[in-house]
Point group: D2
Chain length 368, copies 4
């Protein structure tokens, strides 16, 4: 039982605080022989890295990852992999006030009430900086998936930011990497999103978002009933990300409004002798096990509470105060949550690929 | 690593198939000295029990639970508790067809693809009958909670069924137990819900639902970062229930549309020297740790696919077919999901109460 | 984290007390498609069953095992298997005295100090009856091993009982099943062991023993560094058996007296292109991973404390007393520990076969 | 499930190879508020550190530990603690030969057969250097124990080295720290041990050893049946140390030769109202739960196979060869295993103190 770990077979343990010397992840259970180097991981870390454009925090961290163990001659050895990211841009300043005050909507209060001794510098362990470690671990997972199931693709994108939603009729898979918001829309829409966000920033406010992550090419049959269902593990993985308040698979909450006759994904036999479906209300998962369709997960990120608008709170001595969070914060943390969601998807998918291989071996049921 | 278990300290392992001789739960880690008997558990099982009114399936199971171990002289001993529920109403019939056909929206196909050898009688292990074991285990959790934190209350209710939603302006906590739908509304509304559901049933259709579960009186400080957050574990617990497609904490998916200035729960010092809040957008959880407010979780249940309306599918040999699911099925499985959601909440809350006691001992941070 | 479970992939959770209605094991993670029926399991339970000859306790339990879940059409389905053994010969009697007194060398005292509420009837959860559940689970493991690695053989035998030791020069593998002591020796030696034990019984005494368990045909490469080494898991498995006080692999404690030049198992290339060894001081395990040689484990069982010779103790109120344990007890619990040790070996070996398959897939290193 | 982790509540995950850039341990589940700094940990690392006298390897590593997370203002925060030890004395040399040859008695062969890609530099992950991480984690455990149970003392010492055994009649607890062998004997005996070992070294040989670790002041009632017994966890912990071939609790393997009348530890009521015992054959554990007596564990370490005496082996291509292990190796690895055994004892004891607190709260059973 480890509070800082997730995964059954591919097990990731993260450590580190926002303003400590370093943070990282211990990755256990990666198969041997997977080609991995620091540059491969850096690619994904750069995607999450702050300070890259005006839509994210201006904290400037190189987020350079070092592989300290478990890789030899450019390949994983099957032993535990240590990934370390040193913190460099920890602005020195007086933490006196923040150490005595609880920011509304932050974990300041709950960490204090739980532990007494909390690292208040930049949120300490509760900071979203922890997700850098997830992204590094997700990079390992991606390489291992590549070795096991070539062609399996994982991609995340935003579908909503505040009052803006994507137009699914104009969904453009290839546009995702071409804008600061990871939206599957053209440049003009991206500009509208930027204008919206900059206006909010000037109002000293922040906004929430929805991120959708899709895994294509997941083989049918992974996921393990009853309490390690693929959707169960994905729900936990996404909900564990900072600021996430909701998780959906397939139709998600909207399934409540559907009739059974509408919701059924009818089954056909595909040209390749595998089952195909008329629709994907299920989000690629039935009974906790993958169907072979796209696995589709969505999660909502709340607006960051670190805003310049004053909010009422109390000090550690119980006295009332108003809190304005200065410092360098993301007006929409959802943007940088996209690569984190992808990383979690990669870790969960790999985990279940390995678990299935261990428990079942080869898929046993055939069609036809 | 156990695929059929959940919980860190209070660990529940379920077993059994829909039409096997019995099903049940092994409950590990219940503290010693908790008064428990079969009648206490039966109370909650009766709430989930099928065949009680015309809004649920007509399968008639007494769902009588037997305690086979771990309780002595009317109290738990601290050792593993075995709870067994024998199946009695397994209608004998020819399963020939169902064994060869995959029902759209069911786990028939995925279990076949994963395992090859599946128990097709009534859904086997993937049947919602498994949730009876959860409710029994949840009954143990409730008694243990009562011993640890008197006054902690857990209650679930429906907030949506198809196109019907509750009126939060007329929320009636005490009405919940007084209608077949567990809605916090008066008798007239309940009648409307019944009319709606019976109409659907006559159309040979089914419908989805949303259930909300609230835990009141949860002490501040339970929940364990980063991967055993209270909300993470609740998300997994609810998503593991059959047919659940989405889970929300507090604002849930709606948080995406909010601004930071709207979403902040401002903090006051209460009369008892404990923090109080101007609102509960957070759903009682910050940074994965309870705030002392109500813990609020919602989950969406899809409409059951077991309907009399024909749906296209394939047989195990790949040939096309149309499936009509006869038999005794719930037109809205969300109704019977209410006590299941409560049971999962009880298990998770107890689990974290014990975990906190082990890891931290007494709350260490004080206010004032 | 489950206190009543063991295993990584093949996970066994036991439950039940000596004098409760039943006891059993939930077996999680057994691969699908393994042929299993109750008779197969009963074969091993009968080997452990009490009351079969005058060298074991006279409690007469049929130890009939029922499979309640996880097996369909004579094969495992991949879901959790519930094995139940009902207790039948629970002699009714007055437990007044035993409930108030602590037997020296028993868990009476420690269960009381830990839990307060203990099931004192026949030792409750601490009774060696719990091992019946292990033997049933081990029967499942044996069938799964048979399917995965045909020819892998697991056999246990006694090597010492009190002052008697086997003569390794006259080791007879085939004689093991032909005497009441499971010793690899001829009938004459078995008669000497019986005479020795009956003499002890008449002296109202009991005696300890050493059991050796060998697994032949274990493929090279199973076992997982650093904390799930094959020998680590075997040590835990054997030490968890009631009354065990020591565990050895290969040379065991005697390795302390050896020089490096004596202890080295020199390596050759065998006729089949696989490594062979000049000796097996290592007991078939290097660095926690199997070498392909026989895996050899030994464990020592202390003499049962349940003897008719009076021993000084205290009552629950602190007053001094003398304890004579009447009832039906084994003069040498080591005899019935043989099938238990075999069962634990089977569970651990299967567990690591599955784990290796999941983590590594096929053995990757070749010789030549 | 983590292959590189151990512990239930206090969970340690180690990482790193002998000749990689660094190694370390992630410590999860340490209670908050425990005073910890690097100097406290260094004290124990120095005890294990190589190159300190002529009886151990001449590899000279400072083994300087850095705390990268989880400690703030000199106290633990309750979040994951990262401990890193950088490798500095990795002699550069040609590994060509060692990469192609399997040393008898090493994990070279089994890692190759299991993983294919192995880090052959200095044993890689299988090197005893991994135990430095355990000692660092054990240092954390010691401080946490000090906060929870003042006066609890853990000490290890050698009892046998090859043909030499300590004289228990002249047992001197205070002498342990005063000689290079950690033996509880006077200076003259230590000189004899040194002469013996130096003679062996000149013969190009090595030798095995037995280490005993004692925990004094362990409260009664810790340890959790059935598969997390205190002795089960200690057996696993000790057997997981490199080169260990046997583990004993209390009488250990010698229990096999005893009669029940000899083995019983009779119970008295002590002056403080707690149970006392006439002897400690049990090694402080009954039914897997501590009795309040000294917890006594022993383990045997085999002689290192890294000797200058040639031994027959094969190369990776199957061709025969003779291996002489040059380099800097311990003639008796048992010496440096003493602080490792102590560290494992500390981790297991702390783990069970926390587990008991979580599961049971306060001891519930009283005497008198």
């Amino acid at each position: 039982m480890s509070m800082n770990s997730f995964g059954h077979m591919f097990r990731v343990t993260t450590w580190g605080e926002s303003h400590g010397p370093a943070l990282g992840a211990t990755v256990d259970g990666c198969p041997p022989g997977v080609p991995v180097d620091e540059a491969m991981l850096q690619h994904w870390l750069d995607k999450r890295r702050p300070g890259q454009n005006k839509n994210t925090t201006q904290r400037n961290e190189p987020d350079a990852v070092k592989i300290l163990s478990g890789v030899f001659d450019g390949k994983t050895t099957g032993t535990s992999i240590q990934l370390m990211i040193e913190n460099t841009d920890q602005r020195s300043r007086d933490y006196g006030e923040i150490s005595q005050t609880f920011r509304p909507g932050h974990a300041d209060l709950t960490y204090h009430l739980k532990y007494g001794n909390r690292d208040y510098r930049g949120g300490g362990r509760s900071s979203a900086r922890e997700t850098a470690a997830r992204v590094a671990a997700g990079g390992i997972a991606r390489e291992a998936i590549k070795a096991l199931v070539p062609g399996l693709e994982i991609k995340g994108y935003m579908t909503q930011m505040g009052s803006l939603e994507i137009d699914r009729g104009a969904f453009d898979w290839d546009a995702i990497e071409q804008n600061d918001f990871w939206i599957p829309q053209g440049a003009q829409v991206a500009q509208e999103w930027e204008d919206y966000l900059q206006a909010l920033r000037k109002e000293h406010d922040s906004v929430g978002a929805i991120i959708e992550v899709v895994a294509r090419g997941v083989p049918a049959g992974i996921g393990a009933p009853i309490y390690a269902k693929l959707d169960t593990d994905l729900a936990a993985a996404m909900m564990s990300i900072n600021a996430v308040k909701g998780v959906e698979v397939g139709e998600g909450m909207a399934a409540a409004a559907l009739k059974g006759s509408e919701n059924a994904d009818e089954i056909y036999l595909g040209a390749d002798g595998q089952p195909e479906f008329s629709s994907n209300h299920a989000g690629g998962i039935l009974g906790g096990i993958s169907t072979g369709q796209d696995v589709v997960v969505r999660f909502a990120v709340k607006p960051t509470s670190s805003i310049l608008t004053p909010r009422k709170s109390i000090r550690i001595d119980g006295s009332p105060t108003e809190v304005i969070t200065k410092g360098r914060h993301d007006p929409c943390v959802g943007i940088r949550a996209v690569p984190v969601g992808e990383a979690m998807m990669a870790c969960v998918i790999l985990d279940h690929l390995l678990l299935h291989r261990g428990q079942v071996g080869e898929n046993q049921g055939q069609i036809g």
